[in-house]
Symmetry: D2
Subunit: 239 residues, 4 copies
Amino acid sequence: MKLLIDEREDTYLVFEGKDFHTKYGFVKADDLKNAKPGDMVESNMGRRFHVIEPDVSDFMRKAMRGPQAVMQKDAAIIAGYACLRSGSRVVEAGAGSGVLSIYLSYVIYPEKLVSYEIREDFAEIAKANFSKYKIENVELKLKDIYEGIDEKELDAVVLDLTEPWKAVEHARKALKVGGYLISYSPSINQSRQLAEKLSGFRYETFECILRNWKEESMRPDTRMIGHTGFITVARILSR
Amino acid sequence: MKLLIDEREDTYLVFEGKDFHTKYGFVKADDLKNAKPGDMVESNMGRRFHVIEPDVSDFMRKAMRGPQAVMQKDAAIIAGYACLRSGSRVVEAGAGSGVLSIYLSYVIYPEKLVSYEIREDFAEIAKANFSKYKIENVELKLKDIYEGIDEKELDAVVLDLTEPWKAVEHARKALKVGGYLISYSPSINQSRQLAEKLSGFRYETFECILRNWKEESMRPDTRMIGHTGFITVARILSR
Amino acid sequence: MKLLIDEREDTYLVFEGKDFHTKYGFVKADDLKNAKPGDMVESNMGRRFHVIEPDVSDFMRKAMRGPQAVMQKDAAIIAGYACLRSGSRVVEAGAGSGVLSIYLSYVIYPEKLVSYEIREDFAEIAKANFSKYKIENVELKLKDIYEGIDEKELDAVVLDLTEPWKAVEHARKALKVGGYLISYSPSINQSRQLAEKLSGFRYETFECILRNWKEESMRPDTRMIGHTGFITVARILSR
Amino acid sequence: MKLLIDEREDTYLVFEGKDFHTKYGFVKADDLKNAKPGDMVESNMGRRFHVIEPDVSDFMRKAMRGPQAVMQKDAAIIAGYACLRSGSRVVEAGAGSGVLSIYLSYVIYPEKLVSYEIREDFAEIAKANFSKYKIENVELKLKDIYEGIDEKELDAVVLDLTEPWKAVEHARKALKVGGYLISYSPSINQSRQLAEKLSGFRYETFECILRNWKEESMRPDTRMIGHTGFITVARILSR
């Protein structure tokens, strides 16, 4: 895989072995194959592209996505507040299209991320994404997390669910003491209902708002994403 | 080390081998020693404390701090947008009191974080923090990063400097193609001056605003941190 | 009345006829009496004060306040979105300490603002404020607005109530077609319950966030007011 | 004029004397003429519309606009922080397409708003708007406010200019002591340059951010206007 970036800063994730077609002409497979990071390739119509190696942020952005896929800001905050790193033991539910899974599995690598998803159609999209980006440390379980969590002594349980409160008692048993339950949901009412179940946890709920600026004119962008989700970070103090 | 949490959710980081004194009485060294995560200990005045193992977020919060130490939200965003994980090769400057270093070195462990700091007084605080929290994978260099970066083929250069633009040419040489220059600064004017030097990079500048909510009353807190810093994320496309 | 401003930009609302005492000494009554807007007066300890005429914004800031008194930003937005000006016919409830009343009565002057308040203690504070700042166009009614609104053909009904939805049917009858029901409340759950009753109205709910900047360093203040209240603006389309 | 609102809450400002055509059919001129506020009219294709009297907020929204016309939130904040009401003496510059003028002249009515505009094309748009909405208390001056302000003893000078600092000395002479200079500009760098000239004023700079919520799902809108302008409110303490 390579990431191509044109002069307008549009990015293209391209796979080896075939020509890359764009409305600005095509780049030959051989040119792509021979390009090293930092090189430029040119389409037959003269459009030039920087070539670099893609990383996990590109996979997240380019993955097939459902309507509510987690943004990079929230993925970063979730991993950061759960103190994840290589070896962290994490269960996630629901996988959805797998965008958050891509990031979490990257951070805890080579540890396996266990990802619950009840809907087969979503699981198929997630699997296709993992396969496309060669992500091998996700174990996708077609199971309802509201029914229970098989794993034990987890460092973190990450929930992106409609009714996260239904998973709290399972998370309580599955987490090691001091571990994190993190839940992401669009409505503050979900956070409220979740919080009601969090006795024995120390928790807070916040939103993370990213506001982009134009450096040269020293002003924020006119339009912005005003809301993605509320994040509840809950640390279990005892069982 | 153990983390004690009382009923008001105040936290205390305590070290083995001596009694823990608080205004609510003291907890005996032996009780602390014998307590396992999830247990409770009690002071001689009857104050009860949950006991858990501290993690990197506690170290960041409890570290001796300068006035402008990076908050967890910004540390998480920086690590996330630089796609850091175990093995990532990172140079940071300046170390300051070492709060960001604590987090970055945790994420890239066991890889060593290289941290530049020109001021000896800051370096001493940082060293004391690393020693206190037994962080061994930071190499602290008492050097001016405006003079150059010794390392090569880095995944990321993270700047918390007054004049970050003075380090851009050094970062350009030190980064691998596709690597990240991330700069954190309080004034948008610093971001502007930095951006002027970023030809050859693909970059964006944003602020990350965390807004805490009261779950039960479904309202944000009355007071909040309105600003910490602007973050510029710049990815190098070629050299 | 005069407004004194010292070199630190602290302001003092002083009344004629007596000396003005401060920790920086006192200013003689005669000096205050003779000072014209734009003059300076000096305390016996050499502290100098600008003298200007106070206006309604000073009255709002200096009024005796309850814990939740409306801020100038919200008062301005409420008056603006209700399209208030001289002659607008407005009912407000509850008066609370009368801070919002001070502003609304100023804008619609010489029309009388009718202000409902059920609690006698609050009504007393409000009355004391109106008297102190010589505000004569507020009619304070010690009545429960949940029981009904006496007035008809109003341009606006402004609610700062715990259960604003209980006043909707009364507002519906009291408003002229096209008039505004504006409600201000701390919890989004109150806005939700209000909205459920707003059939026949065209409405929106928003929060107004004011973020102060340091001009010279081109950065926002570190601390800010993160939340005051949610504002629902509802315009009645038919009865 | 009448304001029509359909079931999707789209609004249409219609003028008497002719049929109102829409993609949902047309409403006959006679039906429009006979409709009273609160009535409904129906198009020949069965689309139904509420009829109410338009107010100043509708005029602002429906006016022919330049790209940067002031939004209602900022107009409300400007009028509120300048303590404007009937009789306030105000100079505004530049008029632009006259959207802010529509609101300011409404609030200070019957006092005349004096509005400076150097560009003839903008002045033409503004004039057309005033005429369309029958606004008679604006005196539009085709003059450069950087050259001077003819008026004296003003309550407020409102600036929406590229280089507001060039008007400060003129505003200083034109304002009564205690009066307000209010400037609105997209870049914080403009606020900085303005502030440098504000000796003798007490001032603050802020942004006013409006964030819309979905009441039923208790969540903010996904997309929002992230930025319009920075507002500097400066009160003159002496001359």
